[in-house]
Every structure is written in structure tokens, then in C-alpha cells.
Symmetry: C2
Subunit: 150 residues, 2 copies
DNA sequence: TTGATAATGAAAATCATTTTCATTAACTGA
DNA sequence: TCAGTTAATGAAAATGATTTTCATTATCAA
């Protein structure tokens, strides 16, 4: 399942990227949270541990991880992007979202994932063949009004 | 299906909002396009027809329509929000997205919507009961690499 | 027609994200 | 192990989308 180092190192090296302290730290931080963190959130935590890390690097790293499919980037409508490790071994499992259009509250749900899995993999297969697209992830969100807002 | 005025007027009045020229024009513009338009896109077209309309009002109107569930707001990762009329009678039907993580290309797809519809309405029913949430819309997106980028 | 007030638009402010560029550090290969 | 190549970094400045402010205008109920 892995080489010498942690799983993600192979992914980076595979694309010619270097293993650096900032990258290590940022991934570690993502492992330790199960929130939907913003770049600034990650920066604060990283900076706390290693004050030499800059916000720019956090953005660059999150972006790289997103392109690699290691991290999933979300926009929940509050003006800043949110990030989550896709398959967080320490944290939460794959899930989907319920988003209130008024107060922007986000709820994770993991119910009914079996049915979803079936649906998703079926669709994914057909789409990737038809559009010649390599699908690595998906997102399903339901929008509406939460209990408090309706 | 409607009162005196167009369908959307009832929706606005229902929440105590006024029917104004800018709002009329913005909705008309949304009807006429089947792109994923940004606020600036809408502004340019609106301004062309009625130069007194301001960008601020475009933002405010799109936001209001989004909260009403008349418009759906997307973030495809290129830094600006995109909007689409949810059930555009003149334009495209409900669809989902295939998004390239590298080049940010977006493809709409409408295949397999029957299966999706079945899945979605089943899940939606269970979720809205369990979380006491009024669900008005949903989005399904698949992420990966397009033909050119992989 | 009028008054109360929601809506508007111009300009300024915000603030998340990106760019620039000089410096540092990770790997390669001798 | 060491030096050279060059990707990666961070500080500061720039960008650019969206929001706020506030004086003015327009909608609509009475
Ligand atoms: Mn989540
Ligand atoms: Mn679309
Ligand atoms: Zn809410
Ligand atoms: Zn692509």
C-alpha cells in the first residue's frame, strides 16, 4: 500500500513534486481535522506549529492537493473556499452535504450512502466512457431551507 | 400556472419584495441565456439594455433569486460565481456537471437523468424528513481530468 | 396623490486569492 | 558527501470579485 514514506509522498513524487516541510505539515493538519477548513484556518494552525510557513504556500499546497484529488475543495457560499481530505483515514468518511440557502449552514450526511454508491458508480462509469473523462471524485449537495430558516 | 404577471412576480411579492425594472430585466436576461453566467456577464448585458442598472443591483438580485431557489449559484473554481436559472423554460433543462480539476473545463450532461431523478427524489425524501429540511434543489458534480488534461 | 420605506447605484471598502520576485531548500548525479 | 540545478517558499504588493455605505429614487399600499 505504500513505499518508504506515507502514502501521499508517492503521489507527489510521481508528478515530480518535492517533499517539503510545509507540505508535510499541511497534510498532517488536514488529517487532524474533520471540519470544512478554509485556507486561513489551515494557515493559522500551521503557523502555530511552524511560524515560518506562509499563507501563500498554504494556498499553493491546497491547490496542488486538490488537483491531485487528495483534497476536495468546496464553495458553500460564504465567500471562502473550504477544503477536506478526500479519504481521511483518521477523520470522517466520504459524505455529502445539505446546505441552507438562507443561513449557509452546512450539514454533512452519510445516510443512504449505499444507495448513493450504487448510483454514483453506475453513472460514473457511463460518463467517463462517453466523455472520455477520468473521474476521481464527486460531490452531491442538496439545497433548501433548514429548520430554523423556513 | 400564474396570476396576472409572469410566474416569478408572484414569488417576489409573496415575500414582500417589489417588482422593479432591474429585477425584470435581470430575470429576462437569465431566460435568454443558457450559459453559466457570472454577475459581471449579467451586468454587461443588462447595462447594454438599460445603462442605469448598477453591478451592485445585479449582485443583490442574483443573491435574492438564489435564496428563493429560482436561480442556482455555482462555483466552478475560476474565482467567480456562476448562475443559472433553475428551470429555464426557454433554455436548458436540469443537468449536472463534469469538472476538470486541471483546466477547470465544465461540461454539462443530461444523460442518465432518469436514473438520477429516481435516486435523487428517494434520497431527498429521506433527508428532508430526517433533518427537517425543505429541499428545493440539488447539484451533482463529478470531478476528474478531461481528455486533454490526463 | 402621498407617505413610508424598499430598492437602487456610485463610490469606497473588504477580503480572499494570486502574482511577483528575491531567497531558500530538495533532489540529482558526480 | 557535495555542488549545481531548479522547484518551492514567503513577504509584500497586486488583483479582482463581492459587499458595504449612504444619499437618492421608485414602488406600492392606503
Ligand atoms: Mn463535509
Ligand atoms: Mn450547467
Ligand atoms: Zn438556515
Ligand atoms: Zn482539463
Amino acid at each position: 500500500m505504500r513505499g518508504r514514506g506515507p502514502w501521499w509522498q508517492d503521489r507527489l513524487q510521481g508528478m515530480g513534486a518535492r517533499i517539503t516541510a510545509p507540505r508535510e505539515l499541511i497534510i498532517e493538519i488536514l488529517h487532524e481535522t474533520d471540519d470544512h477548513v478554509s485556507a486561513a484556518d489551515v494557515y493559522v494552525r500551521a503557523h502555530q506549529i511552524n511560524p515560518s510557513i506562509g499563507l501563500t504556500t498554504v494556498y499553493r499546497t491546497l491547490d496542488m492537493l486538490t488537483q491531485l484529488g487528495i483534497v476536495q475543495k468546496f464553495d458553500f457560499g460564504d465567500g471562502k473556499a473550504r477544503y477536506e481530505l478526500v479519504n481521511n483515514p483518521n477523520g470522517k468518511k466520504h459524505h455529502h452535504h445539505l446546505i441552507c440557502l438562507r443561513c449557509k449552514t452546512i450539514m454533512d450526511y452519510t445516510e443512504f450512502l449505499d444507495e448513493e454508491l450504487e448510483f454514483v458508480s453506475k453513472t460514473q462509469g457511463k460518463l467517463s466512457k462517453k466523455y472520455n473523462f477520468t473521474i476521481t471524485d464527486h460531490a452531491i449537495s442538496f439545497y433548501g431551507l433548514c429548520e430554523r430558516c423556513r
